[in-house]
């Protein structure tokens, strides 16, 4: 029975992703931490799908599609920002601050 261990790994992985978003200032690494959180959620879905029926795996399919769309648009935004101001440090990207 792998449900408990899988959910435990999922919890720790998700918290690592949150800690990474708070810890780092590099925009691309923040994106990678978001991917880490999405993967932790996927793991929880797959683990519960084993107990509660295959619909959980269908949700993982949708999460992957959304993650791909998010990565494409997010990295395009990073490229556009870099062209405007050659830095990825979110500390220096404060154009909207009054």
């Amino acid at each position: 029975m792998l449900l408990g261990p899988a959910l435990a790994v999922s919890v720790i992985l998700f918290s690592l992703g949150v800690a990474g978003v708070l810890l780092r200032r590099n925009a691309i690494i923040i994106f990678m931490c978001v991917e880490l959180m999405l993967n932790a959620a996927n793991l929880a879905f797959v683990a519960l799908a084993q107990q509660l029926g295959p619909d959980g795996q269908v949700i993982v399919f949708f999460v992957m599609a959304v993650a791909a769309a998010e990565a494409a648009v997010g990295l395009a935004i990073v490229l556009a920002i870099y062209r405007h101001k050659p830095t990825l440090d979110v500390k220096d990207l404060n154009l909207l601050r009054g």
Binding site: L2, L3, G4, A6, A8, V9, I12, L13, F14, S15, L16, V18, A19, G20, L22, L23, R24, N26, I28, I29, M32, C33, E35, L36, N39, N42, L43, A44, V46, A49, Q50, L52, G53, P54, D55, Q57, V58, V60, F61, F62, M64, A65, V66, A67, A68, A69, E70, A71, A72, V73, L75, A76, I77, V78, L79, A80, Y82, R83, L88, D89
Partner: protein, 171 residues
């Protein structure tokens, strides 16, 4: 046996995640994240989700991480640079919030599943043997979730157009 294999790949996934958020170079971070993704694919196989595991390797470790590495290389971030970690206050906040989140979620997942909605053990395995590994998810994907599936295609189209518009120098 399965437990041992699970914990091996679980430990590899957690190690990859930890290294991903602590390495200074973005390339190293990305490669450690690839390790996490591959370990998760192995765990998916152990959890009777073989098709999802194949998707994980092809879509995540293949396509998405190549996109990340491509942008890192394009912006020439591979060289060692000054650290982008926050100061000690930020690290403390990150650590504290991470621990709080672990505790909260731990309590949440500790609550038992209701026996009424739980399938008998090995059901997914039996369905996979009857309908094939892909049949397990394609059946509900193209019946129950047909509309979300079509909406996803529109989402992907919008993402493609959005990425081109955002990254193009001059329209």
């Amino acid at each position: 046996m399965i437990q041992a294999v699970f914990w091996l790949f679980g430990a590899l996934a957690l190690l990859g995640g930890l290294m991903c958020i602590t390495r200074r170079s973005p390339v190293a971070s990305a490669l450690w994240l690839v390790q996490t993704l591959f370990s998760l694919a192995a765990i998916f196989v152990l959890l009777d989700a073989q098709f999802i595991a194949a998707l994980q390797v092809m879509v995540y470790a293949g396509a998405i991480m190549v996109l990340f590495l491509f942008v890192i290389m394009l912006l020439n971030l591979g060289r060692e640079s000054a650290t982008d970690m926050r100061g000690w206050a930020g690290r403390l906040v990150a650590l504290a919030l991470g621990l709080v989140l672990v505790t909260e979620l731990w309590v949440l997942v500790g609550s038992p599943l209701s026996g009424q909605i739980q399938l008998p053990a090995g059901t997914l395995n039996r369905v996979a043997q009857e309908q094939g590994v892909v049949g397990v998810i394609s059946d509900s994907l193209f019946r129950t979730y047909l509309v979300p599936f079509e909406v996803t295609s529109i989402l992907l189209l919008a993402a493609i157009v959005g990425a081109v518009v955002l990254a193009k120098r001059r329209l």
